[in-house]
Symmetry: C2
Subunit: 571 residues, 2 copies
């Protein structure tokens, strides 16, 4: 391809509103342009990367016999009303009416669509397992789109769905899918961690998230420095073994005035007891007005995602001051588990559940109880106790084999065991081997295709510009004749173009009449793996080879280039 025929508008300056490296460089190198907030045009170089990423995804999906399909992006509201998500998905769901005043949405994901399609046509376990996928634009009405391709309103995803008659089949496909995902991320050149993800949002039971460590990542990953354990911070677990303290002496319950102890720190000082021997209590509410008081030890924060998943709710939020006053009769600093009203469910973190003679707010402003004991002062059943706390960096990881280290990551893929959440709601049933009608067992599996461009850029780019791995580079070779008016240079550039094509690679030829400095800067900015500079030594048949990633640069006779391309461009 000749650069004069390519739409590749590089910029000298980075637009001021681009905050992260990938956003800045993809704009500067002429790969993307915004059309509206969070909706980007992919210019030709980016489109070539997308095409290559998609080809890799298709190959790896074919290798596990996944069927490529394509479903509509406009979906009738009824489909999402059947699953209940039309009401619960939240403000991110684009809703609109057609000319006949019927309700539609723009699909952010397609569990319902595939469940209905497969459910309509597959009626027997004999036609299962089945794995289908598509590559398609998805839509999410983000409140605050930002960070270029990392958080957008329109993005490209590969979304796959599996249908099996049993959980063993689901497990097998889940494992195959994990393997395919590892292959895909390896091939596109990303370093990543497979971590414990939050399956709750999709209504699933188990999930694994693939996260690419990068400073621009919006997620915090907690991983163990002594084992393979890694999880999204919202799911991360520290090590804790329950203890039986039922034999310990229980002191008498006592209510005291604590007008100046509104925080754990103040209470700790007042009582001269460490935070881990005190508890904090918060009130959370669900979308239908569900209420729960959550109790943790004073040294931990409540983890709302764990609470939400435990309760099986689509979302929970902290109750505001007014609701707390109405329900518990006290302000934030004086809440506690003793004397909760009947419609407030009590949830207790396991660390707090093991305390004896502990202090907590009395649900009365300026008052605390001392010497509270579970099942004497407050009823507490085993099914109200779980891990409701947010793990802290430095704590022992749940497997006990290392300390938790926090790092930022970009979510690049997520695989879920869904079970029957959607097949049940949409009536997608098959007859099993015994002739019984059962809900199909489902899994769903996503990769953010357009987000991968940003993730690779965050991990690979340097201060000169983008750096593409050969497997997904827009072109593998950049041929840069320093002076197109020099006949020897133009001729050698044309020869090299043929050499590259004959070796099975694609080249971009900078045939512009620009100064050498501009050409070199643009070449580094757009980041093709190999640059062949054709300059003054063209008449001797000598080419300068520059490898973008290492920065290595050396002269070589043009006749020897072909023999080295495979080595420089190993995929």
């Amino acid at each position: 391809m000749k650069q004069t025929q390519l739409f590749m508008p590089t910029l000298r300056e980075v637009p001021a509103d681009a905050e992260v490296k990938s956003h800045q460089l993809l704009l500067k190198a002429g790969y993307i342009r915004p059309v509206s907030a969070g909706a980007f045009a992919y210019l030709p170089l980016a489109q070539r990367v997308l095409n290559k990423v998609e080809a890799i995804v298709r190959e790896e999906m074919a290798a596990i016999n996944a069927n490529e399909m394509l479903v509509p992006e406009i979906l009738p509201a009824e489909l999402w009303q059947k699953s209940g998500r039309y009401a619960t998905y939240g403000q991110d769901l684009y809703k609109f009416k057609n000319r006949q005043d019927r309700d539609f949405i723009l699909g952010p994901t397609h569990e319902e669509t595939f469940t209905e399609l497969i459910g309509n046509d597959i009626k027997s376990y004999k036609k299962l397992p089945l794995v289908v996928y598509q590559i398609q634009q998805k839509f999410r009405d983000e409140g605050r789109p930002r960070f270029g391709l990392l958080r957008t309103r329109e993005f490209i995803m590969k979304d796959a769905y599996s249908f099996t008659a049993d959980y063993e089949g689901l497990d097998a496909i889940f494992d195959q899918m994990e393997g395919a995902y590892r292959n895909i991320f390896d091939r596109v050149g990303l370093s990543y961690r497979a971590i414990v993800g939050d399956a709750g949002a999709m209504g699933g039971s188990d999930s694994k998230e693939f996260s690419a460590p990068a400073a621009a990542g919006e997620d915090i990953i907690a991983y163990s420095d002594g084992s393979d354990y890694a999880a999204n911070l919202e799911m991360a677990k520290d090590f804790y073994e329950r203890v039986d303290r039922s034999g310990e002496a229980q002191a008498e319950l006592e209510k005291i005035d604590t007008p100046n102890a509104k925080t754990i720190e103040e209470l700790s000082e007042l009582l001269n007891r460490p935070a881990e021997e005190l508890v904090k209590t918060i009130l959370v509410s669900g979308p239908e007005g569900e209420l729960a008081a959550v109790v943790t030890t004073g040294d931990f924060e409540v983890n709302l995602v764990k609470v939400q998943n435990f309760l099986g709710l689509p979302e929970v939020e902290l109750a505001d001051e007014a609701l707390v006053q109405e329900k518990l009769g006290a302000s934030f600093g004086s809440l506690g588990p003793v004397g909760l009203p009947e419609d407030v469910k009590l949830l207790v973190d396991e660390r707090a559940a093991d305390l004896v003679n502990f202090a907590a707010g009395a649900n009365e402003d300026g008052k605390h109880y001392l010497n509270i004991n579970w099942n004497r002062d407050v009823d507490l059943a085993d099914d109200q106790v779980a891990d409701f706390r947010t793990a802290k960096e430095g704590d022992l990881a749940v497997d006990g084999k290392g300390k938790l280290v926090f790092t930022r990551g970009i979510e690049i893929g997520h695989i879920f065991k869904l079970g029957t959440r959607y097949s049940d709601a949409l009536g997608a049933k098959v007859l099993d081997q015994n002739g019984r009608s059962i809900d199909m067992i489902m899994g769903c599996y996503g990769i953010g295709i357009s987000r991968l461009l940003a993730a690779v850029t965050e991990q690979k780019a340097d201060d000169k510009g983008l750096v593409w791995p050969a497997a997904i580079a827009p072109y593998e070779v950049h041929i840069v004749p320093v002076n197109m008016k020099d006949d020897a240079q133009a001729a050698l550039a044309a020869d090299l173009e043929k050499v590259v094509a004959d070796a099975g690679f694609e080249s971009l030829v900078d045939d512009r009449k620009e100064r050498a400095g501009v050409k070199f800067a643009d070449s580094e900015l757009i980041g093709l793996p190999v640059r062949l500079t054709v300059g003054k030594k063209a008449s001797e048949g000598i080419v300068e080879v520059t490898l973008r990633q290492s920065g290595e640069s050396f002269d070589m006779p043009a006749s020897e280039i072909a023999a080295h391309l495979n080595e420089w461009l190993a995929k």
Copy 2:
């Protein structure tokens, strides 16, 4: 690919609401399923055809140095307000608001998007010409989606846009694009005509439409049986040479009572004059209340598309009875050109403009004038006269070289010379060679990718099912072992799978435990070009070869198959 792993739900019966052949067969053969009215899921076999069609389109676009890109499908309303189309595009435009209450649309086409993108980054004629394209879902809120993939609300298009600094550049790209389109349609196996299209809708000056003749087509194509001339009926022209009759005697204008002559036929009988010597007059209105009376000879119908394009309006419609009464003071049967109010523009078809002493309604119920003469009884300037009539089958074609024949066709592609319609509206300017700021000259070029599947089916399918040309068949070879439990058959089928793969083709293996009759019926239904049936002669190494298109069937030793695949699957 093993058929047991493929989602390919064939049906025994055709759904009752499928009216045309392609809709019926694509449903029956398990290629498509509706998700809502006019929005289809493409099942795996259809997706493979789409991928092959798209690959052909990409190759032909690359051959003319068109740059592939991808722009958002959700577009801010402001973009279309700049061009004016937000107001004028009509009810087919999907409009919605985002969570911040801003207006958006779903793109049905992207002239504005590309004009703004290119206009923002290209500032000099030196960076032109430039051709960009994308392959993407488009959205049109059809009032009555129908005929399967032929008229849908969501569809896949290849849309290309060219930007040049002069009209010579536009003409050159238009011609290259026509060549690319011919290659694409030839390669996908369609027969088609390149016809004169209606450029008005896109605001352009010149266009060529590609139409695939098929009974299910919604357009009528008029072509000459004696030359290459072909046009959409709305644009078709019959042969007519203006005559100068200014020397003929003009009889006295006379108003007569015609209470029973409300149609041309009744008037013709009453006056004993042929319809071509009478005129009919209709009133049309534009979107902003523009009014025109259009006069044709009695033997032709008024062509609203020609009127609309002549007036440069986005649309015109026939005035209703009430408006006609209000403006002209008479009912439909008594209208005429004499004494029109000032705000009604008079347009006269060239055949009617050449009449002398002709009759027309008097704009008074039950009255007609006899012996009307232009520029004696009604002012008529040359710029009010043009071809405003709908051509009739059997008339001499405009080139005088044959008679017009009408046939139905499916619009599969359309290329337009747009000129500066959009660059002017959106301020997309470059500096020319003389340093002057000029509007970029544009063209736009579309192919209905998903519609091609229906068009090929309409042209190729037979009473047994689909028939795919090798170039776009989901798989080229269908290997059908009659009995999978027979070891010899299973082994030979596996051998053949390898033979086909080694020859560079893809096969589908019917490994289902179904009766032979079901397998053969499904095989004919899905329409792969070559079937290799492995039956009782498997133990002798004999395979039955069936060519889907010709129906030809013959035995052949398995060892000879490889040598014939290229011949059977010539692309």
